[in-house]
């Protein structure tokens, strides 16, 4: 019985652990960072030349209570949490005061959805550089990340029938 439970747990954990792709940036960036029940996976910021850009990541919460991302700061820019909403084929941005990370669940900040908005960049963000970002959660948890800056890359960003906030 115990052996069966351990095997099940082992299989579940193996299936759930993210398989990081081959790193393309310097090893000093945070690919995964944890504070208690909260884990940040694959954070990245979009390379940009102007004063605004977006940041993305996956946040998981292994506790039994909901948590929420309530504040983000960075020496590089003012950071707000926003969501791209497309309704009736019109795209708009909505600021999110508290981004819920559900208990035993996860929230993904990804292109076309929820994202960090970095406002007021004073110089271009080059791919390969890094941005220091601190995440503050409702539970009081704080996570300081060294986030890699990447070009959008060649991955498709939209798929029909996936939840794109329509």
């Amino acid at each position: 019985m115990r052996l069966f439970m351990l095997l099940t747990l082992g299989i579940l954990l193996t299936a759930c652990s993210p398989q990081p792709p081959t790193p393309t940036v310097a090893p000093t960036v945070d690919r995964m960072s944890a504070a208690g029940p909260l884990t940040i996976v694959e954070p990245w910021v979009r390379a940009a030349d102007g004063e605004m850009t977006a940041g993305y990541m996956m946040i998981t919460n292994s506790s039994d209570s909901d948590d929420a991302l309530v504040a983000v700061s960075s020496p590089t820019a003012t950071v707000e949490i926003h969501e791209t909403i497309v309704a009736n084929e019109i795209a708009r941005m909505q600021q999110i005061e508290a981004l819920v990370i559900p208990a035993q669940g996860m929230t993904e900040l990804k292109p076309g959805g929820a994202h960090l908005m970095l406002i007021g960049l004073t110089e271009p963000l080059a791919a390969g550089s890094t941005v220091e970002i601190t995440l503050t959660f409702e539970s009081g948890a704080e996570l300081a990340l060294t986030v890699p800056v990447r070009d959008a890359g060649m991955m498709p960003t939209m798929e029909m029938d996936m939840d794109h906030g329509g």
Partner: protein, 234 residues
Amino acid sequence: MSEQPAEPQNRAPLGALIAFALVALLAIAVFVVVILTRSSTPSTDSQTAVHSEGGAAIVDLAQQSTGVSDVEPVAISAIPLRSTTGGEVSLTDFAGRYVVLYFGYTYCPDFCPTTLTDFRLAQRQLGADAERVTFIMISVDPKRDTPELLQTYLARFDPTFIGLTGDVETLKRVADEFGAFFLSHDTGESEFYMVDHTATKFLVDPEGRWVAQYAYGTPVDVMAADLKARLSGS
């Protein structure tokens, strides 16, 4: 050589049951959210033309589920816009090529880079046919988006992408041709205001007619395949 007593076969481990229940609940929740939030697409097979909100006559309803919609061809007007290629350019100046265009702005940190990445991917998928398609971003934020800024912004995605802009009245005329919409939230308080804008990508044919559009969420390979089909004359 186990010393554990034999377990009855029909008593599943409690932990596995809880895990299964959580996964099932999550799956049901995701399913409900997807059903509630997806925009309704007609399930009819009829070919009756209907009018979209913008006034275009969409020809084939069955096509809509892919994101691609043909429209009754409408000749586009020659409205001069400031271009990143220098001077003024109108959408009628691209005779002989297909034009895929969308309305956006450079201070849009998520949606626009996402769309331009899709343009770049589609362009790659077109291969040699890419020479016959021009990708255009029309900025609906002339206050901040000078042609120079547009040029720098677009160069990050592809050097052949063209940016067009103009004063608000001119942009409204162009947007109206496609039934497109934009609304600036500039109150004068901050330079970092947002602009709502139509997400649809519009297709103009080599004869300068608006002939189709790609809804938000149209997969890149669907858009590229549609372009290839039109280029090969099918």
